[in-house]
Amino acid sequence: MAIEVRIPTILRTYTGGAKSVEGSGDTLADLIADVDSRHTGLQERLVDASGLRRFVNVYLNDEDVRFIGGLEAPVKDGDTVTVLPAVAGGAR
């Protein structure tokens, strides 16, 4: 099983500079734990005791996971997960 996890620039120190890594799991939480097993410390930057960290946005196939189950969102082979920092939005 392979799920692509895209990593923002600021967190690539955990992946040896890689823009994306692969992982597996049934839920987003499983997937993050799986990726963390090969890139220690990544999970801690994404998740705290209350769930996804406030300024971290995670998208499953371009949809914000907070609206489709959060850390319990089901993931499957071929999915793409994108991690991005929360920003002010563009040209307002």
């Binding site: 946005n57 914000d64 920003v87």
Partner: protein
């Protein structure tokens, strides 16, 4: 239609069907044309309401200076209102925003303070907050946290849409300050059981996200996630592709955030069709394409245009 002044002509914008872009007669897209506002964007609503509220609160007097972190449309709207109401305008914006926006701002008499391109709008907000702290007589209406922003949409955009399309099933708009989605979303959810409020968030290139610590991000103070039912991240490629489809298939010359909204709207249309449901999906056309011409988004191939957009704030 006749109005006593330009400001009175605010809002009551057309809702236009997009039959060629809709995937199926059962899933209809409707474009709310916000470029038909006094300065050509949806921001006129927020700007007018924020200034009116500040006047009611006694924060402004003749010759007062307004300060705002804005890459364009809000600055242009505020500059117009400032000009007509007798205030000075200072805009803080990233140095890499399009030429048309800067030109328009200066034509309206606004002064521009540039913030570094790297770090995008987060940095402009930070710089503006610092300047506001240093100049206590300047008034920062602060579009990202000012309730009058979302209130404008609760009181005008939402009711207009419902009056024109009582059968509405989805409202889709770009997500920036979040004012449009919060205000329109709240109104529609109060009046239309089961209505979907869908955000289309622009996904920029790496320069914009920068190297800032992921713990120092920014979430607009107006944002209340419970008002939304879905939120999509839309790449510049997808936004651009849909913006060109709007022009090619519907003759609608829209800004790139509108393309992002259309992309999310089409995803919702597909979901509805797959579930065997009809849909009437309102899509926010926040502005026309004029202010993005110099980005190169409308010329050449999609790939060439996408390459040109890299590093630019396109929405």
């Amino acid at each position: 239609m006749r109005y006593d002044s330009l400001l009175d002509s605010l809002g009551n914008t057309p809702l236009v069907g997009l039959p060629r872009l809709s995937p199926d007669p059962a899933a209809r897209l409707w474009a709310k044309l916000e470029d038909r506002n006094p300065t050509g964007s949806v921001k006129d609503r927020a700007a007018f309401f924020m200034v009116a509220q500040a006047e009611k609160d006694g924060l402004l007097k003749p010759g007062s200076t307004l300060l705002e972190p804005t890459s364009g449309n809000t600055g242009i709207s505020l500059a117009m209102v400032a000009k007509l109401r007798g205030y000075q305008m200072i805009c803080v914006m990233p140095e890499n925003t399009s030429a048309e926006r800067r030109q328009l701002l200066e034509m309206y008499g606004a002064q521009i303070i540039s913030s570094p391109a790297a770090g995008g709008s987060n940095e402009a907000v930070r710089v503006a907050k610092q300047l506001a702290a240093e100049h206590s007589d300047w008034v920062m209406l602060y579009q990202y946290g000012n309730e009058a922003n979302s209130l404008a949409h609760y009181e005008t955009t939402g009711p207009e849409i419902l009056a024109d399309l009582p059968s509405i099933t989805h409202f889709v708009a770009g997500l920036g300050t979040t004012g449009t989605l919060m205000g329109t979303g709240r109104y529609l959810r109060e009046h239309v059981p089961g209505v979907q409020i869908v955000a289309a968030e622009p996904r920029y290139g790496e320069l914009v996200y920068g190297l800032r610590n992921i713990d120092e991000g920014f979430v607009p103070e107006l944002y209340d996630a419970s008002v939304l039912t879905s939120r999509f991240s839309v790449t510049s490629t997808d936004a651009l592709r849909r913006t060109r489809e709007l022009l090619d298939r519907e003759g609608l010359f829209a800004g790139i955030s509108s393309g992002a909204a259309v992309h999310a709207a089409l995803a919702m249309a597909d979901k509805a069709l797959a579930a065997g449901q009809e849909a009437d999906i309102v899509v926010m056309i926040a502005d026309g394409g004029w202010r993005y011409l110099s980005t190169g988004a409308y010329s050449g191939t999609l790939e060439e245009a996408e390459a040109r957009l890299e590093g630019q704030l396109w929405a």
